[in-house]
């Protein structure tokens, strides 16, 4: 009996000692993630394409546009608004932004990731022998489209210091906005090559037109805008869900009013009640029980989509380009946009459409889409004193790890 017990024990000991390596390797597989090398198959491409769109929507597009609204004169932060508690948003509103501002981190980080995955998708496509040519085209179109969008967003919304817009790629040197626009342009021109439908081509043309407009090249802007989106075209937009809600709803609207809108948007509606159709607002009483604030309800639901490019904006681009050469056509375009909302035609006070009129129309039509910050910078309408940020800073986190920028 004694020998039997000892034999069993020693066998067990030897067994345990000998199986250690095999034991730790024999584990159940992960269920909530997959290793990169398992995604190099044609069948996984739709999964990756959807991922790019999901990542763009949240937290890149919605976060950036909301922060741009806070930095511009569209929205503001006030601790007197119930549930407005995030001082990071307060810093952005005031244009006195610490480089470690917490609200900047997610959109900047994931803008970088979006740039990386769109570029990596192109590399992955080259390694796959597609049997479905349309799927391959679609993959290339998406990779170029969103790859261009990332570069456009760097150039338009971020800056090295208070007044020098631009971005950075792959921990390289700072790329000024003009050069970054060139990079975006290359991507979008490639996207045009792989656009599957005419509507997709028009979307990309409108994006290019806007890029040229912001870059100050009126000729090219007009050339592409004229090939851009037309009435009835579906907007290029980010989609959300109750699980992945639109930041405007979640933090700058009915979900939680960390940011409220400038009072002039209420005034627009008072001056012309029909404007409330495109400038929907909801009142909220301040904690002092005296001050009335307004929340945007343009994005009334968690799943409210956020447009990145619309045919209306394309019309306004053309209107701006025609303002001096053909103001009547410009006014027509504005009124076409207004009519789409059921608004009466605009009649300029002087009889001739002015830049101020156009700016006001852009202020309303492109409200909370990221255009206002750009317009304020383009036309010298910045509302904060010198020395304050006019773009969102490239965060300290990038500066710490990037040897090319301080």
């Amino acid at each position: 009996m004694k020998n039997l017990i000892m034999i069993c024990f020693l066998s067990g000991l030897i067994f345990l000692i000998s199986v250690c390596a095999d034991f730790v390797e024999d584990v159940d597989p992960l269920i909530s993630s997959v290793e990169d090398e398992l995604l190099t198959d044609e069948s996984q491409i739709p999964f990756l394409i959807t991922g790019i769109k999901v990542r763009f929507a949240n937290p890149v597009h919605d976060n950036l546009m909301a922060l741009a609204a806070a930095l511009s004169d569209e929205m503001f932060f006030d601790t007197n608004v119930p549930d407005a508690t995030d001082p990071n948003l307060g810093e952005i509103d005031k244009g006195q932004i610490d480089l470690n501002n917490g609200a900047l981190l997610n959109p900047f980080r994931f803008l970088g990731e979006l740039r990386f995955v769109t570029d990596a998708l192109l590399v992955r496509i080259e390694r796959i022998d597609f049997t479905d040519a349309q799927l391959e085209n679609q993959a290339r179109y998406v990779a170029h489209l969103y790859g261009g969008i990332t570069r456009y967003l760097y150039a338009t919304y971020f800056s090295l210091d208070e007044t020098t817009p631009g971005g950075v790629i792959d921990a390289g040197p700072f790329i000024p906005a003009a050069e970054m626009y060139e990079l975006a342009l290359e991507k979008w021109q490639d996207a045009l090559r792989f656009a599957v439908t005419p509507a997709e081509s028009r979307v990309v043309s409108s994006l290019i037109a806007r890029l040229y407009l912001y870059a100050g090249d009126a000729v090219q802007a007009r050339a592409f805008a004229e090939q851009g989106m037309v009435a009835g075209d579906e907007p290029l937009q980010s989609r959300y869900s109750t699980i992945s809600p639109n930041f405007f709803w979640e933090n700058a609207g009915l979900g939680r009013p960390q940011l409220v809108v400038d009072q002039r948007f209420f005034a627009y509606g008072q001056a012309d009640s029909s404007e409330r159709v495109r400038l929907p607002l909801s009142e909220i009483m301040g904690s002092d029980d005296q001050t009335v604030y307004y929340r945007q309800t343009k994005y009334p639901l968690p799943e409210s989509p956020l447009a990145f490019m619309t045919w209306e904006e394309n019309e306004l681009i053309l209107a701006e380009l025609e303002l001096t050469t053909n103001p009547i056509s410009a006014l027509d375009r504005i009124n076409r946009v207004r009519a789409s909302h059921g608004l009466a035609a605009f009649v300029p006070e002087t009889g001739v459409l002015t830049l101020d009129d156009l700016m006001t129309e852009r202020d309303k039509e492109l409200w909370l889409t990221g255009a206002r910050m750009v317009d304020q910078n383009r036309f010298g309408l910045w509302h904060l004193p010198e020395g304050h940020w006019r773009y969102l800073p490239i965060p300290q986190e990038e500066r710490n790890a990037n040897p090319f920028i301080d």
């Binding site: 004694k2 017990i5 024990f9 067990g12 000991l13 345990l16 000692i17 250690c20 390596a21 034991f23 730790v24 390797e25 024999d26 584990v27 159940d28 909530s32 993630s33 997959v34 290793e35 990169d36 996984q44 990756l48 790019i52 999901v54 990542r55 929507a57 601790t79 119930p82 549930d83 001082p87 990071n88 810093e91 470690n100 917490g102 981190l105 980080r109 970088g112 990731e113 990386f116 950075v168 790629i169 792959d170 921990a171 980010s238 959300y240 109750t242 699980i243 992945s244 009915l254 979900g255 939680r256 904690s287 002092d288 968690p302 989509p305 986190e397 990038e398 710490n400 790890a401 990037n402």
Partner: protein, 987 residues
Amino acid sequence: MGGRIASNASSHRCRILAVTILLFPFLVDLVSPRPLVSGRIVGTVKDAASDKSLAGANVVLQGTKLGTAAGFDGSFRIARVPPGTYSVIATFVGYHKQSVSIQVLADEVAKIDFELRQDFFRGEEVIVTGIASRTSRANSPVSVSRIQVNDFTKTNSYQNLTQLVNGKLAGVSVQPSSGNVASGFRFNVRSGTGLTGSGQPVIYLDGARIESSDYFGFGVGGQGTSLLADLNPEEIETIEVLKGPAAAASYGTSGANGVVLITTKHGRPSEDTGVAIDYKLVLGVNQQSYHYRESEMISARAANQVFSSGNIVQNSLSASGGTQLLRYFTSFDSRVEQGIFRQSRMNRKSLRANLTAVPNKKLTFRVNTNHTYNRTNRPHNDNSAKGLLANTVLAPQPYNFTDSTAIANIHSEVRSNHFIGSAQAQYLPLTTLTTRIAVGIDENSIEHEAFFPVEFDYSPDARLDAGFRSVRAQHITLFTYSIDAAYRLALGSDWRISGVVGSQLFDRRLRSTATEKFDFLTSLVHALGAGRQLAGVSEGFEHRREAGIFAEAGLAFRDQYFFSARLRRDWATAIGRQAATIAYPGMSLAVRLDKYDWLPRTFGLLKTRVAYGETGILPDLRDAIPVLWGPEEGGEGVGAVISQIGNRAIKPERVKEIEIGLDAEFQNKYAIELTYYHQKVSDALIRFRDAPSTGKVAGLPPINIGQAHGSGFELLLHAAPVESRKVDLNMTLTGSWRSNEVDALGGAQPLFDGNNINVIKDGLPKHEFYKQVVEGALFNEDGTYAGPRISETRVALGNPIPGHHGSFALNLRLLNNLGLYVLTDWATGHKVFNRTRRFRAIFGGDSEHNRLGTQIGLYQEGNSKFVENVESLAPGTSEYEAAATRFARLETSSNINSNWIEPADFFKLRELSLNYRFHDLLPKLGLANFLKDLQVTFSGRNLWTISRYSGPDPEVNFNGSFGAIQGQDFMTSQHPRVYNLAFRFSL
């Protein structure tokens, strides 16, 4: 329906288990063998100096299964002793053992009276020095901290492990993260030099490794519920802590931050009554310990009103005893505790059955089982706009964010079903060889539900306002398998050799699910199915395994020189796909100087020791996988996003430690234990934060590039200057001094916590507060305030982990039966980031900020921070400049959070208790025959605090215990003052 059936089945099993446990003592008695011809041994066990009875002392006949425990008057009786000559040994915790030879004749009574001498160093206590190694403390080559838990639980009442351990161990401090019931806590073991992971020791309960993490679930602002809150202190016999790699090398990977070994109570043979029954009733109350003042905040009155006194009722019943063949300990404990907030509650039921069977001298089986059902409710606090504190300590007007009735109706309940069990078989095929095989399981199922009823106003948070429900589940199983063989051999009269060889396997699975819905029509039906919109759904799973083999060899000469060497080799799923392996060596030497003839006899013990060891810290499970993609749901559907970026070449962090110590006991009244240690970390896993523009932002890929070092002293002084029959006085002083420094991050940028203030940076201690500071005020040309003058660079501002921690305990016994126990503890070199006050200044509730802002003209009439009847000062005057300079230090921008980092050294009167034993009264009342002991104790906890910290409590951290955020107070609950009245009956 299915859930109801499962619940009924579970309840049925619990009832069967309960009945079995209650009947167990009688079953044991039925199967006990009875000798035909026998004698008896009777006698007493008393303290040699004071003559007091040592109730519970063990008396055994060496080489037999016979023995008993002394009764309340110190008397014992061992019946049915076969005639013969025996060596009878009496032992009692804290005393030197005594052995007496006696002859027993048939049908006669042999009498022995033992007089035990106190063992101030507790040198004869057997302590754990390795997985399968034990030795007496007097011969141990390493410092092992130990708590004889029964010394404390016998009279006092403790909610959890935190309260039990706090202030009682040298080299180990415990930092609770909030005053909520069942809140998490952090062990700070030695210098905590390792850079990877949570910095927490690995914990074993009766040989089974157990989970020690916090459960967070649907957030309530910050605090999680500690899985260790399920442990019932009443069931614990001892807690031992191996404090670093020098002692824990044989535990291998994961032992770098120390090893905590918890042993639960076991039955002792009792010939007198067959069963020893203990019943303890505790009636207590939790109270607000710190009252807010209007001089610090405008809404102080409302803040004080959110606290309420919470009752504590604990019933603890245990039965133990058995024979030499079969011993048992069974207990049932119920603790219902209301915290200092109405929504802070705990209802814990714990059932334990420990069984030891010794069928023959060579074979021993032990089975330890415990099931705990713990229902806890957590209040919203910390970083939550729905929190009671956030709504009362920030803005001038209370409930600025959420209505008080709405807060009162938030429901968050965590139900934990926790089973911890272990089984062990020990076989001695030879007198020199011990073999052991053991299995342990820690199985924990958590159900968590949170609910925001639609009838209450949670606007402007629209999703909560529409009615919101979150239901989560988490299931963890952790198996421990171990097998080892130990031999012990005497070579002549001088030499003894010993050795251990064995293996350990760990298998851990974690599953979690969560579903959240909102938009309910009524809270009358608030099952998930009644929610109309989905807010979130997730499922997680991970499976990890670890394996290790170990060997130890020991050599002792003349019981004076003790040398040992050990080696461990580990494998782990987390290291890499190819089962990379790592080895850890260790060695130690101890010399008993008191054995030299030249040493004065005043020393009962004088020992020097030196030990060296290495252990490691594992990477996370997925760290070795280069790129992982996970699903993310959005409006476009579910797509693949990068979920983690790892490093295929990763290996465990290595921590090396050398410790040198001196232990002494002298004049039979004083004991000292002094230890110096130095730790060095290499291959530290640094989470390399790539520039976001690289796109590699999903997690921080680890690289083995970090280096760090740490060192410290530990001191334990024990004195018993007065010892007599009527008066006993003994005192214990502990002190720990620690420091650490990060030597290199291999070029990685400093690693900051989420709030960008705690840092891991080369040249600084771990978790140091590191931020720009306000150097003064700036002034415009007209003398008006122009803002704070901020340093250009960050500076080190102190550490959230105290550099020194100490405690002083006093035990005084008067008139034989009246006992007074006092425990104080303190910490220095401690800083806390008072983020609460920063936000109070932002939201206008800070009295000083508002007053100064008004004085310097920054806040004028109409501004919500304007203070009436405060005169504005004239710019340019010295008064104005002084006010402006002070105001600059109350500015609230995030880049000058340093304004709110405060000294947080503290001194606490941690425990005070007054105990009376009706020891002498029971015989006079004629109760002694059936009531062995009756004690009444009145005790208090957290009775008095001195601290320079301006917040309520310096022992808080809003984000729980284990993360990168440390020492940050953000509307975090203070610790309650606790009063308990405990009655203990022993039958």
